[in-house]
């Protein structure tokens, strides 16, 4: 029986972690994630979980402690945001290269400088090539559901990779929404018991972690890791099917909204997708065939499936809540462009950068962009391939 509650995104994720009851959590506070680990620390203090909580002096240390605990044989979690994720950078690659299925909620926040504590996707986008699985969440319910599913995906014996679960800082982490919790037993049965492949604490079978691998073998290990990534999408779908049986809530690699017969479309991550769907509805009411695609499994990116879902459109706007400096385009735009590249007849594409540092994304912004797409379908011309929106001149 589902329990209906009114909670923040942070509280929802903390409860998902409580229900999973991991062996070890090493964490360091950082806005806007702090509330999540604060609540989880209370669960530890109150004896509601058996988790060993390690308080460390930095995020570099928190993820390092997680790497050790995971190699030792534990089911391990941490959580972070922004500068914390940036400080973990070195260890992110060590966790994925060592194939340790650590689960980490990331409450998306802008990067400094200038210093800013509010929501955008610069942090997780900076970590998109680190070998971690990334699941992105539109709202508190998705953050809760994705957190639970992340354990099954990361720990799957074909995968064994660490996973981030992303949600928008403050907009989701600190907003109270109506949510459905699963029963504790349901979650525990769903994630099952964790078994490390080569636990360091198995003294009967001694192993070494972190060896030096020279040019004669390094490429073989990298190729093996790349091959594992090609198996993630299937596992994500299998886990989603099981999750739907339990919860009634359906998940895929991405969500499509009124996309099948659409001519113009938006591609957008996380909370702003919700706002955009309302505007898509308004355009539909006016007889304009608008649609939307919201990625969920962002890494590894399902290029083939996304390309198939978008190829029939005439014009698409990819909205990025992070810019990629170096004269480049938004990270999501680059992935969408790549997914459409193999097709002879491709939709026209534009890229908009929005919502940086927590700047509000309003229905008016979606309207502006959809109107531009209507123009593009009429004129066949793109005026600006990349543009900031919601910014003062």
């Amino acid at each position: 029986m589902a329990k209906i509650v009114a909670v923040t995104g942070n509280e929802a994720s903390a409860n998902a972690l409580r229900q999973v009851n991991p062996d070890v959590c090493a964490a360091y506070p950082i806005t806007p994630q702090t509330e999540m680990m604060q609540r989880f620390a209370s669960f530890v203090s109150d004896g509601m979980v058996k988790t060993e909580l390690i308080l460390v002096e930095s995020e570099h240390s928190s993820l390092s402690a997680c790497v050790g605990a995971s190699a030792a044989g534990g089911r391990v979690i941490t959580a972070t945001s922004s500068q914390g994720l940036a400080l973990m950078w070195e260890i992110l690659f060590i966790a994925s290269g060592t194939r340790l299925p650590i689960v980490m909620p990331v409450v998306n926040r802008a990067l400094s400088a200038p210093l800013n504590i509010h929501g955008d996707h610069s942090d997780a986008m900076g970590a998109r090539d680190t070998g971690w699985i990334q699941l992105w969440s539109e709202n508190g319910q998705e953050a809760y559901d994705n957190t639970i599913q992340a354990f099954r995906i990361a720990e799957h014996m074909d995968i064994r990779l660490p996973a981030m679960v992303c949600m928008d800082g403050f907009i989701i982490s600190h907003s109270i929404e109506r949510l459905e919790y699963l029963e504790d037993e349901e979650v525990r049965d769903f994630v099952g018991e964790f078994k490390q492949m080569y636990p360091l604490l198995d003294l009967e079978h001694p192993v070494s972690y972190g060896p030096l691998i020279l040019p004669d073998y390094y490429m073989e290990y990298r190729k093996a890791q790349a091959d594992v990534e090609s198996k993630v999408a299937k596992v994500v779908l299998d886990v989603a099917k099981d999750f739907e049986k339990m919860s009634g809530r359906k998940y895929g690699l991405f969500e499509t909204y009124r996309l099948d017969d659409a001519e113009i479309g938006l591609v957008i991550l996380n909370s702003a997708a919700g706002t955009s769907k309302d505007t898509v509805d308004e355009f539909r009411d006016r007889g304009i065939r608008a649609g939307l695609l919201k990625p969920r499994l962002y890494r590894p990116f399902p290029y083939g499936e996304v390309g198939e879902a978008l190829k029939h459109l005439k014009a698409i706007c990819v909205l990025d809540r992070a810019d990629a400096f170096g004269g480049s385009y938004g990270p999501l735009f680059l992935d969408i462009a790549t997914s459409l590249y193999p097709y002879q007849h491709k939709p026209m594409l534009v890229n908009k950068i929005y919502g940086l540092g927590g700047r509000d994304y309003l229905p008016a912004h979606a309207e502006l962009v959809l109107n531009e797409l209507v123009d593009i379908t009429k004129t066949g011309a793109v005026k600006n391939l990349k543009e900031y929106i919601g910014v003062r001149e």
Binding site: G97, T98, L100, M197, Y198, S208, G210, P211, M219, A224
Partner: protein, 97 residues
């Protein structure tokens, strides 16, 4: 030895075999060589304890000659050696001299 392909390597580069350093001879890295001077040796076994590899062979509780196959010439044994009456039982000599 035939090198393994990418489908044969262990996940995460874990080495699921104990004591495999035995197969990895690192003596050629050495630029300084430790020399054992037996008459100054009090058999404290500090060198065996401190050696980060397995270059000190101990038999029947007593050290003998170095196994240079595993000695990188780090010099830790020479540093730690208490010697006898102020004279070291291990000294470092430059290779090739």
């Amino acid at each position: 030895m035939k090198l393994k392909g990418w489908k044969e390597v262990t996940p995460g580069a874990v080495v699921p075999e104990a004591g495999s350093a035995l197969k990895f001879k690192t003596g050629s890295w050495r630029s300084f060589r430790p020399i054992w001077i037996e008459e100054n040796c009090i058999q404290c076994l500090f060198c065996w304890l401190y050696c980060p590899d397995m270059a000190i062979k101990v038999k029947d509780g007593k050290r003998g000659e170095f196994d240079y196959n595993y000695c990188k010439g780090c010099g830790i044994c020479a540093l730690e050696c208490p010697g006898k009456k102020g004279k070291k039982a291990i000294v470092m000599e430059e290779e090739g001299k």
